[in-house]
Point group: C2
Chain length 332, copies 2
């Protein structure tokens, strides 16, 4: 596993509008974005600031939303009726769907990418689906002479739109070279894990294990602070500087405290993403015969959050499963 992290400077969205000419290599590429959800739409917009982009989503409204974007710069967004149409002239197809089922349909369905995409082109797989799904997709794409870059992304919608994502990639050299201008437009930090599709997913899964457990731990800390009559905000401030500190305690902790002060806080990262991702974590850990008792407990907690109606809420709302909004004073 080679770590070739590259920290790009954070770049403005409308780079070409600043007067600089876009990279000629990037200009030559045609890109398709399949899936215009929370991540796909801002990624398409980001790419369209420099490249011609065709887009597809099963939801016609999302396609119209993407095409209606007033894009400044060299690129443009053209909606397509099917994945097959979207990739007809594309060199790189960015796949930004939710899960394996959507990926299989988009790639291998009757109107899928593999029916029209030119041999030698690249599918950039940005979803988090686990190593096995990507390895299977890589094998099937190879039958159509298509390459793959396993490139799960982290960072959320706002950073997607700013080209400020963290991407961990597993891919061979040829695929990586072709997709590089697209990766450079999307990522501020790109870690090439190694030459094998699936290795990016493996590293991303470990990232999600830690992130998901740390959010749950922060929730337990906030809930326990409330239960013991301490001010949770002061607890977070005191502890985040020391041995108890984590990115998630500093980031999600204050949002958890807000959950008790404000109705309907801003959703920056949906809770049900962790239902999916902790399922991937425990699945691949089980397949590798590695016990992960804390990840398993966190998975159950996110499932409880989903059952409690929090699926589309910010993931910080998980704290309310441990320390409910309404009964907090009585339960102290």
């Amino acid at each position: 596993m080679a770590d070739t992290s590259v920290r790009n400077g954070a770049r403005p969205l409308a780079r070409p509008a600043s007067g600089r000419a876009p990279d000629p290599a990037a200009r030559a590429l045609c890109v398709a974005v399949i899936g215009l959800g929370a991540m796909g739409l801002p990624m398409a917009r980001r790419l369209a600031s420099a490249l011609p982009v065709s887009v597809f989503d099963v939801d016609r409204a999302r396609r119209a939303l993407a095409a209606g974007t007033g894009v400044v710069g060299a690129g443009s967004i053209t909606p397509a009726e099917t994945p097959a149409d979207a990739v007809r002239t594309a060199d790189v197809a960015v796949l930004a769907v939710r899960d394996q089922t959507q990926a299989d349909e988009a790639l291998f369905g009757p109107d899928g990418v593999t029916t029209t995409m030119r041999p030698g082109a690249v599918v950039l797989f940005t979803s988090t689906v686990g190593p096995d799904v990507v390895r299977a997709a890589a094998a099937r794409l190879a039958e159509h002479d298509l390459l793959i870059v396993d490139a799960p992304v982290s960072g959320g919608p706002a950073r997607a739109g700013d080209g400020d994502l963290l991407i961990v990639a597993g891919a061979g050299e040829a695929a990586l070279a072709l997709a590089r201008p697209v990766l450079d437009l999307l990522a501020s930090t790109l870690t090439v894990v190694g030459p094998n599709p699936g290795d990016g997913q493996a590293l991303k899964a470990i990232n999600q294990l830690l992130a998901g457990v740390h959010i749950a731990a922060a929730a337990e800390a906030v809930a326990l602070a409330r239960g013991l009559g301490l001010d949770p905000r002061t607890v977070i401030d005191s502890l985040s500087r020391g041995a108890a500190g984590s990115f998630m305690l500093s980031d999600r902790g204050p949002r958890m405290v807000q959950a008790y002060e404000e109705e309907g806080a801003e959703v920056r990262s949906r809770l049900d993403i962790f239902v999916k991702d902790m399922g991937i974590v425990t699945g691949i850990a089980g397949a590798a015969h590695v016990p992960v008792p804390l990840a398993a407990a966190a998975e159950q907690l996110y499932l409880m959050g989903e059952r409690a109606g929090l699926a589309a809420q910010d993931d910080s709302s998980i704290v309310t499963v441990l320390s409910p909004l309404q009964t907090s004073k009585e339960s102290r």
Copy 2:
């Protein structure tokens, strides 16, 4: 809960030897240290750099070890045969025992602190025992006109010797004022949680919840990296900068990787401390009716580590419960 964190500059051990006169207020104090374990001994030495210190431990060898220290400066270390003897002339008794049983014996036993200590003196309770134990001790000490500062410490033996501990204190003003020179000698960061004994323990328990869960999460990450055939060191390096980062991933993660490369790594923090502390966490959370499923899973993991013979090993060795040293290659 008032946060009055004070960040002292890190100060050299032999401050009085540097030529500066010691603080007159500090000079006036007599201090006793009860319990000369991994934390008590370096704390006694640190205090003896500025103050006269009497010491007691149930183990005669530890008393001799403390008294034999070549101390430079204004202070000295005098061993005593009982806690009662140690505190006979003391203004502040620093209690640095392992658990509630030892604390009760040292304070309230037939040769305990309460049999001889002068009314108005202060017991500085540095052990992590949970809020209820300290509240009960405070009530019994009050019957003897003794004050208490609830001041659980974090940072480990090396930082104890350097006066670089983190201390979270719950205490009334009078007790705090009397103990302040001792706290200032021991702590680089002092957070006064509030006026009530037990509040320091509550905050320390939340600290241990997070620290204990984060160590276990780092262990799962390292174990899963090995199981998936990734280089755990590269995984830690890649992920500790981002949303998966924690103090413990950066601190214990590399030590976990070392566990597979070196025999008998240095013990900086014993594993069985987390058996005790996660027991306190789940105990007080249960009493407060707050679910803490991840802390509970972590407690079970540390118990498994203890049963596997790792009690006196560094807590980073918990990773070997998830991914054994010997069978690691086969179990991939």
